[in-house]
Amino acid sequence: MRRLLIILVFLAGAAGAAFWTLTAPTPIVTDSLASALETGGDVEKGKAVFYAGGCAACHVSQGQPEGQEDRLKLGGGLELKSPFGSFYAPNISPHPTDGIGKWKVADLVNAMQGGVSPAGDHYFPAFPYTTYAHAKVEDIRDLMAFLRTLEPIPGKAPAHTVGFPFNVRRGLGLWKRLYLDHAPVAEEVARPLNWNRGKYLVEALGHCAECHSGRDFIGGVIEKYRFAGGPDLEGKDWVPNITQHKDGIADWSAKDIAYMLKTGDTPDGDSVGGSMTAVVRNMAELSDADREAIAAYIKSLPPREGPPKPPKKD
């Protein structure tokens, strides 16, 4: 009996130690490299990264007059509902205490690519670091140069209201082992230059797949449903399939995609709604060449059937 108890205690201890090791937040940039990143950031290039990454779509200060928001006020506060609870986009303005005014470039790299805060905690993947992990470090350095030019906004976003067990941030270490990889976007030399540019914009910055994919019960993208749409995590709607499947956008030309990203107008004379309107506001700031590049890549996505839809309610 006593022996069994000792074994059990030992096993529990071993499991605890394994959990602790497996879930440790690991920063991307070490201290020795951090100072090198502080110089050379390009504000103009950073601005393009800012819009391509769609940062403002979530981090824009809430409570501004509708239709005339200043999208460069990044005080945060937007609520993102999910099956796990509500997340609130934090303040990423250069405010020294409420925002990220004291951050080094390395802190932003660790946040965007490692999902790790300066204090060494895991971020929830509502912040799409699974996409940004594929970005070039120079792009994040430029982005920081741009963010530092913006107005510091006081005020913090509300705390996330996430239930157990998802509120145990350490557990996200396991989640990252399943879903976070840091491979740079692979260039395909047989493809045109602008297709490769589009691939980078979509897979490393634009994070289209973060919404337009079916997800599993712990919120990881299901690969066979990548870009094939699925239930809106907010629980009301369905996010469209954007692959070349017949239920997707096979009947759109690359020109139609680029035009939608600029104007919000779809080829059938409709206009995109919901959270996609905020996406379009960012995409409209890109160059025509970048929108065409995104379109070329999206137009090349293999047809995939999305998750089964629930029967329509009347």
Binding site: E66, G67, G229, D232, K236, D237, W238, V239, P240, N241, K255, D256, Y259, T263, G264, D265, P267, D268, G269, D270, S271, V272, G273, G274, M276, T277, A278, V280, K309, K312, D314
Partner: protein, 145 residues
């Protein structure tokens, strides 16, 4: 013959208004479909897939003005659900803003219709009118799938 024509016309008008009252969801869908057809044709011109045609542009603006007049009346409290509607509950929560957005579209479409006379004025005036579509769909319509 003339009498018959008037009778048919009157009947058609009555039928339309009865339909609007009895099935506002179907009516607003049909109205939006008309706007969409106009916008699709204009989109082709804007993308350079069709030559500029003033009549097409004016017809699209007309359908927007018509919709702006009738749409605010098509959301009685009894039409919040059913008919596979994509209308979000927020419409009834902030009906004044919803109506104001339609009025803005109506005014801007009317203004653009007066100003647009050729391809240059089309390129200058139309995009601003088109922005109204997303302005409403952002808050008041469920995602399309």
């Amino acid at each position: 013959m003339k009498k018959l024509f008037f009778a048919v016309a009157a009947l058609a008008i009555v039928a339309t208004s009865v339909m609007a009252q009895s099935d506002p969801i179907a009516t607003r869908k049909a109205t939006m479909k008309k706007v969409g057809e106009g916008a699709a044709a204009v989109g082709k011109i804007a993308k350079g897939e069709a030559p500029f045609d003033l009549a097409t542009v004016q017809a699209a603006l007309k359908s927007m003005q018509d919709a702006a007049k009738v749409m605010p009346t098509l959301f009685p409290d009894t039409s919040k659900t059913g008919g596979d509607t994509a209308a979000l509950p927020k419409i009834w929560e902030t009906k004044a803003d919803f109506d104001a957005k339609w009025a803005k579209l109506g005014a801007e479409a009317t203004d653009a219709a007066a100003k647009i006379k050729d391809e240059a004025s089309f390129k200058a005036e139309f995009p601003a009118v088109g922005k109204n579509c997303g302005g409403c769909h952002e808050s008041y319509r469920a995602k399309k799938s």
